[in-house]
């Protein structure tokens, strides 16, 4: 009896699996791998972008999420995944292009590419405009809690020349730093007056020594709870995410120091092993539609490089100096670093975290 039941169950499972495949094969499928919370999903009255695309092109979108550029890279390198559209950041686009992991995009299929502002085209990570279409951009800056800072520090931070205030002694255990080597070293290097893309061992060691001088709370997503609940006085984070926490706590302010900062560009790319490049190009083109671009930008708070979307965007968001600041020459985008430099940072990072006492 038991045997019979199990055979019946197994058959039922097989049949349902087969049914699943059958229903899939009717429609075209697109596999999109994005970052978490990085697309308008129908909340707050904005467009459900994925559903809208599925309806318009009568296809099925398989939407998956990766955590960081590095995980996306290792997933793709392992060969166990085949995505059609990915959203890597500038330096990762450069690395993937260099290693032949990206397909050349056929821009004839992306007429909306004309909507992208010229200053975001042909940037150093993809100078020939072959592999990527800009999605969002943003900056890194000091986030501070007005209520918790001393008047002198408040005056200093409002006209911050560099990130030095993060090394203040006035706020023990209340200052956060990025919990990833690339961003943290970037902040320290900028404060020391060096390039964030330096490959000089001496400069990087100096930056590591600088990071060790302060006992930071090394945070990433913890930022979203610790910053608004007043337990942090100072921190450094991405502008778009600052706008999210600022909505919860009006004492939080954001400033980009004069010494410059990291400006990042996230782009849409098609991996070389994509199964459906034509549909992927349709998807990218769809993301550049003015209404889609606007809803994504208004919902997420990140800065849009899409001129057509900006035109129809809420004035208040468009004029927000945090989301759409005046760009300065001292701002630097991350470049892909040589293997030895990355390894050096990784070793020093282990040292910094071990000695953070």
């Amino acid at each position: 009896m038991k045997k019979l039941t199990s055979i019946v169950l197994a058959l039922a499972m097989l049949l349902s699996a087969a049914a699943l495949f059958a229903s899939c094969s009717k429609k075209e499928t697109l596999v999109v791998c994005n970052w978490g919370e990085y697309i308008s999903d129908g909340e707050d009255g904005y467009m459900d972008v994925v559903a809208e695309f599925e309806k318009k092109f009568d296809c099925k979108v398989e939407y998956v999420v990766a955590e960081t550029n590095e995980t996306l890279y290792s997933l793709m390198k392992s060969g166990s995944v085949a995505y059609d559209v990915i959203f890597p950041s500038d330096y990762m686009v450069e690395k993937m292009a260099k290693e032949g992991m990206l397909a050349e995009i056929n821009f004839d299929n992306i007429p909306n590419y004309k909507n992208i502002l010229p200053e975001f085209k042909g940037l150093a990570y993809d100078p020939e405009e072959k592999y990527s279409v800009p999605y969002f951009w943003g900056t890194v800056g000091i986030v501070y809690n007005e209520k918790l800072l001393t008047p002198e520090d408040l005056a200093t931070v409002e006209n911050a020349k560099d990130f030095e205030i993060l090394w203040s002694e006035n706020y023990p255990n209340r200052i956060m730093m990025f919990n990833n080597p690339r961003d943290a070293f970037g902040v320290a290097l900028k404060t020391l007056g060096y390039s964030q893309n330096t490959t000089s061992e001496a400069e990087i060691r100096q930056a590591a020594a600088k990071l060790k001088e302060q006992k930071f709370l090394y945070y990433m997503d913890e930022f979203f709870t610790a910053m608004p609940n007043d337990s942090l006085a100072l921190g450094v984070y991405y502008a778009g995410d600052y706008l999210t926490v600022a909505a919860e706590n009006e004492n939080l302010k954001f400033v980009i120091p004069e010494c410059g900062t990291n400006i990042f560009n996230d782009a849409m790319c098609i991996p070389k092993n994509a199964r459906n490049q034509t549909l992927a190009e349709k998807f990218i083109n769809f993301m550049l539609e003015p209404e889609v671009g606007r809803d994504n930008a208004e919902y997420l708070g990140y800065s849009s490089p899409n001129a057509a979307a900006l035109e129809i965007m809420d004035e208040e968001i468009k004029d927000d100096p945090v989301a759409y600041p005046e760009r300065k020459d001292s701002w630097e985008a991350f470049r892909d670093l040589p293997e030895e430099t990355n390894a050096l940072m990784r070793d020093l990072w282990a040292e910094i975290l071990t000695d953070n006492k």
Binding site: N173, Y218, L344, L353, K357
Partner: protein, 275 residues
């Protein structure tokens, strides 16, 4: 002979989720980026990298302190539990298990709310005048806070095995000891403790092993990295070195196996004495 068929799914499961990953770690630990055999990773851990060596010793120190503290706290609790009415025992058992139904990261995050500046502890200490307004407790972001977090997290693993062995000791043994003129202290020392050694041993193992490889707790409550966080650092990211990460895990595993073997020896010896 009994059929071995029911074991087959279990064996497949073990092969996929235990043996294969283990082989991958071992292979990684003894190879370099090009895949050639090397002992460099191990050499680096033991001789060349002061950070890794220091981190290892620090993890060992914190794990040992936490394990001893767990034992000191857990033993009296287990004794008191074992002396209650069965219904009370069941309730206490349930209460000790209760926090373990929650994810441990979540529980550590609640400790964060207690310890952080202007957190629950600060408000309480300021209320009773132990801290002046604006002052914060000296515990947050220290090794002590990490030990606290580990003890809190693994205490049930010490209490429960000790309680199980102590509860099985018949009352008549206590009475016999007292009848023959033993002080209560001597009853504890000469009768109860020797009989509870197996529980103590398994408690020690169950606390020491995860404490030694603990991660997240130290970063969240102490701000610094222990061995587990270092493995994480080397496994992910650009410039990461999974080969070194694997070698660190192997060294850690070796020490854990060694400590289990040592403790098991004690266990067996005692069995012989009791028999």
């Amino acid at each position: 002979m009994k059929s071995k068929k029911p074991l087959i799914p279990y064996a497949i499961w073990m092969a996929i989720f235990v043996v294969i990953p283990l082989i991958m770690i071992i292979v990684n630990a003894f190879t370099d980026k090009s895949g050639a055999f090397t002992l460099d990773n191990l050499e680096r851990i033991f001789f060349k990298d002061p950070t890794l060596r220091y981190n290892f010793l620090n993890s060992l120190k914190i794990a040992l302190i936490s394990t001893v503290l767990c034992l000191v706290l857990a033993y009296p609790i287990a004794l008191i539990m074992a002396r209650q009415k069965p219904s009370v025992q069941r309730l206490l058992h349930f209460l000790i298990m209760l926090p373990m139904w929650m994810n441990f990261v979540l529980r550590i995050c609640s400790w964060l709310l207690v310890l952080q500046p202007d957190g629950i502890l600060d408000v309480m200490l300021r209320g009773v005048g132990l801290l002046s307004p604006g002052q914060s407790n000296p515990l947050y972001m220290t090794e002590t806070a990490v030990v606290l977090g580990i003890v809190y997290n693994y205490l049930p693993f010490m209490i429960l095995p000790i309680y199980t062995t102590v509860a099985k000791i018949p009352r008549s043994l206590y009475e016999a000891g007292e009848d023959l003129g033993c002080s209560r202290w001597n009853v504890l020392k000469k009768i109860v403790f020797p009989l509870s050694v197996p529980g103590v041993i398994s408690g020690l193992t169950m606390v020491f092993v995860p404490a030694m490889s603990s991660f997240v707790i130290s970063m969240k409550l102490g701000g610094f990295a222990l061995m587990g966080d270092i493995i994480d650092n080397y496994y992910k990211g650009t410039g990461g070195d999974p080969h070194l990460g694997a070698a660190v895990s192997i060294v850690l595993m070796f020490f854990i196996i060694l400590s289990i073997a040592l403790m098991n020896r004690f266990d067996k010896d005692d069995d012989v004495v009791l028999a």
